[in-house]
């Protein structure tokens, strides 16, 4: 099984590649569309996957991935398990700022089946930021798309003087250390 590595391919000029990993396909699709609708000054390609590892047969066609977003549905324990299983197939170098956990479904607090604390622990363990959102609402979906786009821009190295690693250290909670 192939491990996903951040630096084993050459980057493409003026582009950013996002990988969305999550078990809810419809939601993934919606988010991807929202991201693509944003105004941007570089090419974005978004890859969707239900889980990792990615199939190895088309690996040579896949571009270098700049940011991996793991989507966790707060209402489904399975989605968390799925993400935890997928994390094993990500190279450690990715966690130097190129991974983000996106927790969806916070609009139904009563239907929660995962504790937010568990997810925060996960974020802490993998040194990666955790964003919360409710993708069912259009306004929040757009806002989330913009936030992810900003992170992608940094991870793809389009903002001079700010690297993915320095950015993720900004995003770290102060009580993590």
């Amino acid at each position: 099984m192939a491990v996903l590595r951040p630096l084993d391919k050459l980057p493409t000029l003026n582009s950013g590649v996002l990988l969305l990993v999550g078990s809810d396909e419809a939601l993934q699709q919606k988010l991807a569309e929202a991201i693509l609708q944003e105004k941007k000054d570089f090419n974005i390609s978004i890859h969707l996957a239900a889980s990792l590892p990615l199939p190895s047969e088309r690996d040579h066609l896949r571009p270098r991935i700049d940011l991996v977003v793991f989507m966790i549905d707060i209402k489904s324990k399975y989605s968390l398990k799925n993400v935890e299983a997928s994390l094993a197939h990500v190279d450690a170098n990715f966690f130097l700022g190129k991974v983000c956990f996106l927790v969806t479904g916070v609009g139904r607090v009563n239907a929660c089946s995962i504790e937010t604390n568990a997810i925060c622990q996960l974020g802490k363990a993998y040194c990666s930021p955790v964003l919360f959102c409710e993708l069912e609402l259009e306004g929040i979906r757009v806002a989330t798309a913009q936030r992810l786009l900003r992170m992608l821009q940094i991870c793809a190295g389009h903002i001079p003087g700010v690297s993915a690693l320095s950015f993720v250290s900004l995003m770290r909670n102060s009580d993590d250390d």
């Binding site: 916070v106 609009g107 139904r108 607090v109 937010t116 930021p129 964003l131 919360f132 959102c133 409710e134 069912e136 609402l137 306004g139 929040i140 757009v142 806002a143 989330t144 913009q146 936030r147 900003r150 992170m151 940094i154 903002i159 001079p160 003087g161 700010v162 950015f167 900004l170 995003m171 909670n173 102060s174 009580d175």
Partner: protein
């Protein structure tokens, strides 16, 4: 006799649906004949529909009131019909006050099966108010215990959800002991606790009740609902409840509005479009437009708010005496400030605490009565509302505008009282991590500015961390608004320190040092996010403007607010501002540095003369940092020696060899107030004015007398910050370098 709970055959619901459909067609027919009869042309079709509905509703009431013995739903199409009539009316327009007694009696008497009782209770939605007596008789039926446990629970839930709609509460409060007895029932306990929480007044708190509650807690363990009640008791009688309770609870009670919430909203929205008459019957006295939803509805003082009803007073003033010693003034009649002063001793707060928020007179009153229970009631209500209606935490409430105006009125009340509400603080702490930063942005950030200065670790993990995450991932505009609200927050905290120092200095000495620490942490936090933000936004001029605005408050903390604290901006803010392309920012930086200087000089003087009220000394580091910055500034603006003289470790000192490689001729005088990128525009304009014929723009011409003219020109262009800076710092600080500057000047 039928079994209590019908075992449902698959056929049954089908049948029922069929029935209701035939009923509906019959009802429609009835409506048509009705409308033919009524020839009043001004009535709209809607009104007619309601007329006919009223007819069937009356029939239903008389049937449900009279029916004797146990009746089953399955075989009784008449019951089915009446039940449908009640339900459809309730959902469409709510039930009239007189219906509640009948329906509550029917539901709790145990004459019907539980399915019928449940349907009846669920359809008990008021069109205007719920008469108190109907609730009293319902409670008496509850005590008889004819209905099943589930129905008891449902009734209590209904009571909690509808509590604010009950016209008066005196008689219900008289039943306090009965409710209290129900605490023993394990299943009812949480709901009874909630009802008691809503009912409790100071006179209800009795030693034996406290003992019973403590026993109950010992038996059942730490239950949040018991804790809620105990904490309320403790608030009323702190000397009697001696156990310690956890300070802040997230939620005491589960939300029990469930089945009625949507219906209430729907009914309110529908009723709004009706004739003015029906609107008058509807809760509230004025401003119908702001009554669309529950929270806004509660912002208006309802006519039935306090237990002294308006109507009652009109009927006969002597009746008021029946209520005993307390003759209170109805708040809805409170219109003017003199009225408030005359009646301040006999005001009773409305049962809908939300109405206080938009009423300045009541806010005045609240401010001066220092009654903790008022705040508790308000916070309880506000916390609940915020949590339930928060548009980014609750998917089913997409009504952003309404929530916005609610937040807005909270903010205004906070400004009026000059203090934050703790319910609001808790709400922010809880929901900021979930916020997207877009929804109700300005309202939320304004509320942030009223968070009270509390202990640092709380603020750090609940406010700074989520705010920083949003800050770094959001647009430059969001960054600016965050900085603006943090500036406001700092301002509010500083005002608060001034008040504390003024009122009672000796005892608050410890808290003052605590406050200094909290303020210092805030300033450091802003310094940190500003540095990172500037880098992320490529030194955006707009962002810089907001950052400097924040430091505009920071630099005056010692003189203006008497706070023994001065913190210089970090190098990541200072140098981008100094080398900014924008003259407004440079001008502001100059002004800030001038204020720092004034504050530091004053501090030094106080220190030397031992006059200082605050036994405090700024650390040498602050002076040192200031001097380093001043050296860099004088170098950049006056002596062209910034690259050689700057001694700040993160400054712009450069090796001579490196400078030579730039190929700039006459390095020694090529970076000053004339050549500075933010100033060059002025220099060009100036040259155009003094020698209009010369098009070579020879900046070297600006020297000697022309240098002074140039300065005058700059001052006349509104660069006041630059003026005060140059007048205060250049001649003094750079005495030594002045001789060197002489070759520029002369």
């Amino acid at each position: 006799m039928r079994p209590r709970r019908n075992s449902r055959t698959p056929k049954q619901p089908l049948q029922a649906r069929h029935k209701s459909q035939t009923d509906l067609s019959a009802w429609r027919k009835g409506r048509r004949t009705d409308s033919e009869k009524s020839l009043q042309h001004h009535q709209s079709a809607d009104d007619q529909k309601y007329d006919s509905q009223e007819g069937s509703l009356e029939q239903a009431f008389s049937y449900l009131g009279k029916v004797q013995g146990r009746v089953s739903l399955k075989k009784n199409s008449v019951l089915q019909k009446h039940l449908d009539a009640v339900e459809s009316t309730a959902l469409k327009q709510g039930l009239p006050p007189e219906g509640f007694e009948i329906l509550l009696k029917a539901a709790l008497s145990g004459r019907f099966a539980d399915t019928v009782n449940t349907r009846l209770l669920k359809s008990l939605i008021p069109a205007s108010v719920i008469p108190q007596d109907s609730v009293v008789s319902a409670v008496s039926l509850l005590c008889v215990g004819k209905c099943s446990g589930n129905i008891q629970v449902l009734f209590l839930k209904w009571l909690i959800a509808m509590f604010d709609f009950i016209d008066r509460k005196e008689h219900i409060n008289a039943l306090y002991g009965f409710f209290f007895f129900f605490l023993q029932d394990e299943k009812l306990c949480p709901y009874v606790c909630h009802v008691l929480y809503l009912l409790t007044r100071k006179e209800n708190v009795k030693p034996f009740r406290i003992r019973q509650l403590l026993d109950l807690q010992a038996k059942m363990g730490m239950q949040s609902h018991l804790q809620a009640l105990l904490s309320l008791y403790k608030l009323f009688c702190p000397e009697q409840v001696t156990i310690t309770l956890p300070g802040k609870m997230k939620t005491y009670f589960k939300n029990s509005e469930g089945p009625w919430k949507a219906a209430i909203t729907a009914v309110r929205q529908r009723n709004q479009g009706l004739s003015p008459l029906s609107q008058a019957a509807f809760l509230g006295t004025s401003q119908p437009q702001s009554r669309k939803r529950k929270w806004n509805a509660q912002l208006v003082i309802p006519a039935s708010s306090s237990y002294t009803n308006h109507l009652e007073e009109v009927r006969g003033k002597n009746r008021l005496c029946l209520y005993g010693t307390k003759v209170s003034f109805p708040v809805e009649q409170l219109q003017t400030f003199p009225q408030l002063l005359q009646n301040i001793h006999r005001l009773e707060f409305p049962s809908q605490m939300g109405s206080v928020l938009t009423n300045p007179l009541l806010l005045h009153y609240m401010n001066c009565v220092k009654d903790e229970s008022i705040y508790l009631r308000l916070y309880y209500w506000m916390g609940q509302m915020l949590q339930e209606e928060c548009t980014w935490c609750v998917v089913d409430n997409p009504n952003e505008e309404e929530f916005k105006s609610f937040l807005e009125s909270i903010y205004k009340a906070e400004c009026f009282l000059q203090e934050g509400f703790s319910a609001c603080e808790e709400f922010l702490y809880k929901t900021l991590p979930l916020w997207d930063g877009v929804c109700c942005r300005s309202e939320v950030l304004r509320l942030v500015s009223w968070i009270p200065p509390s202990n640092f670790s709380d603020i750090k993990s609940y406010l700074y961390d989520p705010l920083a995450q949003l800050f770094f991932t959001s647009s430059v505009y969001f960054k600016c608004s965050v900085l603006e609200s943090l500036r406001q927050l700092l301002q509010n905290w500083l005002n608060c320190t001034v008040i504390q120092v003024d009122s009672d200095f000796s005892s608050s000495n410890t808290t003052l040092s605590g406050l200094v620490n909290v303020v210092a942490e805030l300033v450091h936090f802003v310094g940190w996010i500003s540095t990172a933000g500037l880098r992320l936004e490529n030194n955006s001029t707009l962002l810089m403007y907001f950052i400097l605005d924040f430091y505009g408050t920071v630099c005056d903390m010692y003189l203006k607010y008497n706070l023994p604290l001065l913190i210089m901006p970090p190098a990541g803010v200072f140098y981008p501002a100094l080398l900014s392309m924008d003259s407004a920012n440079l001008n502001q930086l100059c002004h800030i540095m001038y204020r720092y200087r004034t504050n530091l000089v004053a501090a030094k003087e106080n220190e030397l003369s031992k006059k200082s009220i605050l036994q405090f000394k700024f650390s040498n580091q602050t002076y040192q940092e200031y001097n380093q910055y001043i050296t860099a500034m004088v170098g950049c603006l006056w002596t062209s020696s910034a690259f050689q003289k700057d001694i700040h470790p993160q400054g712009l000192c450069m090796d001579d060899k490196l400078l030579c490689k730039t190929g700039v001729k006459e390095l020694k005088n090529s970076f000053n107030i004339v050549y500075h990128p933010a100033m060059m525009g002025y220099a060009v304009q100036f040259l155009k004015e003094i020698c209009p014929d010369d098009t070579t723009f020879n900046f070297k011409l600006i020297k000697g007398k022309k240098w002074d003219w140039y300065l005058e020109y700059l001052y006349s262009q509104g660069l006041k910050g630059l003026k005060v800076f140059i007048e205060s710092s250049i001649s003094r600080v750079s005495q030594a370098s002045r001789s060197k500057a002489g070759n520029v000047e002369t």
